[in-house]
């Protein structure tokens, strides 16, 4: 299967600032793809090079097999939803949506039918006559979507489209965007700094740091098996311990500071693992507190509660274990009958070799 969008060795400089440092990327047709990273990592620059607002300093960009060098934004089969939405303030909602149809061969009637259809699709049926400055944030975003999708682009580019909305609205729009993408079948490329948003919405995610792609995978792999400490830190919460890997024939085992030795199943061992020092990541939800009266078949280690943060449905504990300098964070669901421990309480922490994520030291 050939890629719809294909980048090879893409470099971008602003003066002496190196914004993109060799990006190789293939995005398939119909994919919901996210560029995720902290601010300044180059994700927006990458999106804007695909849109045609920024030229490449080096490398190639192909869309649908065609080289895009020298092709200006107005001639590319991409459309964009801007972070500020960029709704034309002097035009009505319908005029905004119809903006890109100016040069099309459609008749007036066909155009207004297309506008109506696009507005219906984003849930703004009947809003066509409204003045655009009278819209709420969520409505502006829908107009921006309709305006871009009416042109039936091969790729829809979304630059932090949800960052200006409040939390409730954001969650609602996440679901709607997924539904919309499935409905139209167009490739979506989303730029976001919100890892949760990326995990919820994407088929695949590229995590970017300082102009490079750190890891590119589907959300589950990205969460369960980050390939580096910075990816692990950026996505979700992660405890870090040190460990030493030893190999013996086909089996790989690791001696984790404070927890002890564990033999790793083959699926937990990243390719190219060699004996020596490593960093061990442990997600808070893969550890557990052993409450009074409960029993476990798994391994346990003595611990002291040093911090309790109560979230209602969850409680986050920081615990200290012998031989480890920093506290470990453990998240526990507040199931029926389960107490909330106090700071200073002596307890046991349950762990398992499947809790361990091997990372380069």
């Amino acid at each position: 299967m050939t890629a719809l969008i294909s980048l090879r060795g893409v470099q971008k400089y602003y003066g002496t600032y190196h914004a993109l440092r060799g990006i190789d990327l293939d995005i398939k047709a119909g994919e919901f793809f996210s560029l995720l990273g902290p601010s300044g990592c180059g994700k927006t620059t990458l999106l804007r090079t695909i849109a045609g607002f920024e030229g490449l300093s080096d490398g190639t960009l192909k869309i649908d097999g065609k080289d895009m060098s020298g092709v200006p934004a107005n001639l590319r089969p991409t459309n964009m939803v801007f972070q500020s939405y960029a709704i034309f303030p002097h035009l009505s909602v319908a005029e905004n949506v119809a903006f890109g149809l100016r040069k099309s061969s459609m008749s007036k009637k066909e155009k207004s039918a297309a506008v109506k259809e696009a507005l219906d699709m984003v849930g703004l049926g009947g809003f066509g006559g409204r003045a655009s400055h009278a819209l709420s944030g969520g409505q502006r975003q829908r107009v921006a979507l309709a305006r871009a999708l009416i042109l039936k682009p091969k790729v829809l580019l979304l630059d932090e489209p949800l960052s200006a909305l409040d939390k409730k609205m954001r969650e609602q729009m996440q679901v709607e965007l997924i539904r919309l993408q499935r409905q139209v079948g167009i490739t979506f490329i989303l730029v976001t700094h919100d890892q949760e948003e990326a995990l919820v919405m994407s088929d695949r995610i590229a995590v970017m740091f300082e102009g490079e792609i750190g890891q590119m995978d589907d959300p589950e792999t990205l969460y369960r098996a980050p390939n580096s400490r910075r990816v692990a830190e950026f996505i979700g919460k992660m405890n870090f311990l040190t460990g030493v890997v030893t190999t013996d024939g086909g089996t790989v085992s690791v001696d984790v500071a404070g927890l002890g030795r564990a033999e790793l199943p083959a699926s937990q061992v990243p390719q190219g693992t060699v004996p020596g020092k490593v960093s061990i990541g442990i997600r808070p939800e893969t550890l557990a507190i052993l409450f009074d009266g409960e029993t476990t078949q798994r391994r346990v280690v003595d611990a002291t509660v040093s911090e309790v943060v109560y979230y209602g449905d969850m409680t986050y504990y920081d615990v200290r274990i012998a031989g480890v300098e920093s506290a470990l964070t453990i998240s526990m669901k507040n199931l029926i009958g389960r107490p909330v421990l106090d700071v200073g309480a002596k307890t046991k922490v349950i762990w398992d070799e499947r809790s361990l994520v091997l990372l380069p030291a």
Binding site: A51, G52, F53, N74, M80, A86, F88, R102
Partner: protein
């Protein structure tokens, strides 16, 4: 209250600002040739004299022509500079902008004498309305830029990109998106430039040719006590005209802000 004390001061200050202007109509309608109290009685004859004064009509005609040309050219240059100002930076941009804005703080007499030297002594040109227009464009452009900067910088740069993204070229994006949003600023800039040029005396006095502009003509009249009431009548008309022009300029400036969906926060400059 602290605020009310300030308010009284503010009103007194406004009175100080308006004192000369308030006197204008009083003497314009005063039936006496001496501009002093006590008043003599009501008359409209000074306005009548305005209608029959051929020299005055010529001067007003010159001034209107100069002001119109100045408004057009200063605003054209202002649009270029303000548009460039809202775009990405380039080496030396700050210095160049500062230099273009320099006439705003330069004493007008310096502009006047330096231009006079170049035009008369170096180029040996005849002084005419066009020499005044050249100088007025120079001093009005910074005002035009100041007004248009507000208009251009209020525009989200993503709007132009959105137009490009939706298939427009750079030029059609400017025509369809940027221009409609700055038209009120352009009108406002033209009206302000027109007003400045119409009223400008210091430079015009140096650069005027054989046909005086209106302020230069008024300057001549000020020496003859007999013609002073006519000057008062003329002044009354000019003040009325200025207020109408400025109110229109302000109206368009505000409409521009409303169009761009921005709350009003200040006035000119």
């Amino acid at each position: 209250m602290k605020g009310s004390g300030l308010k009284i001061y503010a009103i007194a200050y406004l009175l100080f600002l308006y004192a000369p202007i308030l006197l204008l109509p009083i003497f314009a309608f005063n039936d006496g040739t001496i501009i002093a109290f006590p008043l003599q009685g009501f008359t409209t004859k000074w306005f009548g004299e305005l209608w029959t004064n051929k020299a005055l009509h010529d001067a007003v005609g010159n001034s209107l022509f100069i002001a119109m040309m100045t408004a057009i050219f200063a605003t054209l240059l202002g649009v270029c500079a303000a548009r460039a100002g809202a775009m990405a930076s380039f080496p030396g941009k700050k210095g160049i902008t500062g230099f273009i804005m320099l006439p705003l703080v330069l004493p007008e007499i310096i502009v006047a004498v330096s231009l006079l030297i170049v035009l008369r002594q170096v180029l040996d040109m005849q002084l005419s309305n066009w020499t005044i227009i050249m100088a007025h464009v120079l001093i009005c452009t910074p005002f035009s830029i100041a007004i248009l900067n507000g208009a251009f910088q209020n525009i989200d740069p993503a709007l132009e990109e959105a137009a490009l993204d939706l298939g427009e070229t750079r030029w059609s994006a400017f025509r369809l998106v940027i221009l409609p949003l700055v038209v009120p600023g352009i009108i406002s800039s033209m009206l302000i430039s027109f007003t400045i040029s119409l009223d400008e005396f210091i430079i015009a006095f140096f650069l005027t040719g054989s046909n005086p502009t209106m302020p230069v003509y008024i300057w001549g009249l000020l020496r003859f006590p007999a013609s002073l009431p006519v000057v008062m009548a003329l002044g009354t008309l000019l003040v009325t005209l200025s207020i109408v022009l400025l109110a229109t300029a302000e109206y368009f400036r505000r409409r521009g802000l409303a169009r761009a969906g921005i709350k009003d926060s200040g006035g000119f400059l």
